[in-house]
Symmetry: C2
Subunit: 238 residues, 2 copies
């Protein structure tokens, strides 16, 4: 299987790492779109969402299966070159230099026809045993959910980091709490796992926290308030 990977970001880095050791794979990282091999089986576009269309429009006419790796870009932006196209969306956060167990990353596939589906499934099986299917609408919602789970969880840690480091405390002391918070979700639903002043309706503590934020971190006050209200009104409604 001859695979060309376009892109130089985090996703491309990890696609290359995951595939380079596979005997069945011949891997190509073209320096320009004109350098794409005419006999490639798959062309993977692993670039920022906003660049996908312009990259696609500059791929020479091909019979390869063309895929992108984006959660929020519809499959049909790849229509018009090869009849075989689709999406290969790994649901994971990628950073260079951080190792991953690729076989456990859920992959969400979509394909333009049966032949491209077969090709994309073969590619997926080289990576992971967690193969799923999602159309563009489902994938977009999955990506939205992953922004909350990943990007916004990291932002919550970022706010906590500012608060403790400005108070002469050490963010490292919050790490066991963070791991335990996440480990609980292996077993409990988020609704059942919820703890803290909001779900206890502890207005005394909530108001005290809002006062501290108003004085020291006014930029985070609205976030505290909105999330607390949602825990009380929507997320943990009995």
């Amino acid at each position: 299987m001859k695979i060309a990977i376009i892109g130089s970001g985090n996703v491309s880095y990890h696609l290359n790492r995951a595939l380079k050791s596979k005997a069945a794979v011949s891997l190509i990282n073209p320096h320009s779109l004109q350098g794409l091999p005419i006999d490639a089986d798959i062309i993977m576009i692993a670039v920022a969402d906003r660049a996908i269309e312009s990259v696609f429009n500059n791929i020479p006419k091909t019979s390869a299966c063309i895929v992108h790796t984006s959660g929020s870009t519809p499959m049909n932006v790849l229509k018009g070159n090869s009849p075989d196209y689709g999406v290969f969306y790994p649901l994971q956060t990628f950073s260079k230099g951080i190792d991953l167990i690729y076989s456990e990353i859920p992959l969400f596939l979509e394909a333009s026809n049966k032949r491209s589906l077969k090709t994309i499934q073969e590619l997926a099986a080289l990576f992971s045993y967690k193969i799923r299917f999602a159309d563009s609408s489902m994938r977009e919602r999955l990506h939205l959910a992953s922004v909350f789970v990943c990007n916004f969880t990291n932002a919550m840690a970022g706010i906590a980091y500012k608060i403790v480091e400005n108070s002469g405390l050490n963010f490292k002391d919050l790490i066991p709490l963070l791991h335990q918070t996440v480990d609980k979700l292996d077993i409990l639903t988020p609704s059942d796992a919820q703890t803290g002043p909001a779900v206890r309706n502890d207005e005394l503590i909530i108001n005290r926290h809002l006062d501290i934020l108003e004085n020291d971190y006014p930029e985070f006050r609205d976030i505290y308030k909105h999330i607390s209200v949602q825990i009380q009104q929507n997320l943990c409604k009995k």
Copy 2:
């Protein structure tokens, strides 16, 4: 060391579990405050924040060291009975039925005098090797930070749960992403670990996500918007 634990919630449950196997400890769970043993070395008040003062006011005159386990309640609410009092605050989320490695929980201590400090340190050493000291103001900020790290991280998972389960997808597929998000923070600061549309200034995706939320989950739109703005303006400012 004779320890009386007051309370029947999650913290009390885990304090009992952690201490019951210790040879040096004699553990008492009084059915009423009048049943507190007069020769206790430590009385631990492990009840909801708003109940601490009324429990304290009903403790018979004692020479025991009286401690509470709350992040956000000042030590000085325990003034007026024994001269020996203080705080024993375990920085962890407690749920009944979820196991914990107690020895790795950071404990934040505060004491009214040298003698009570010695007593509380002896108690702490039975639990954990991570013993810290924080006055009431630092401890309150630590608690505020832990609301973001723990309670609000869980709320982010709760929002994601609603989005995926309503879309015919499975929340379990987000679990590897969640673990990876947290594992990265063992190595990187939250600012360095931040990924996603906000830190990339990907307004195309952000606006698409806000549109989906406005249509399907209007209650979560403001949270998405506020956190994205904070990622861009405060959390990842270069």
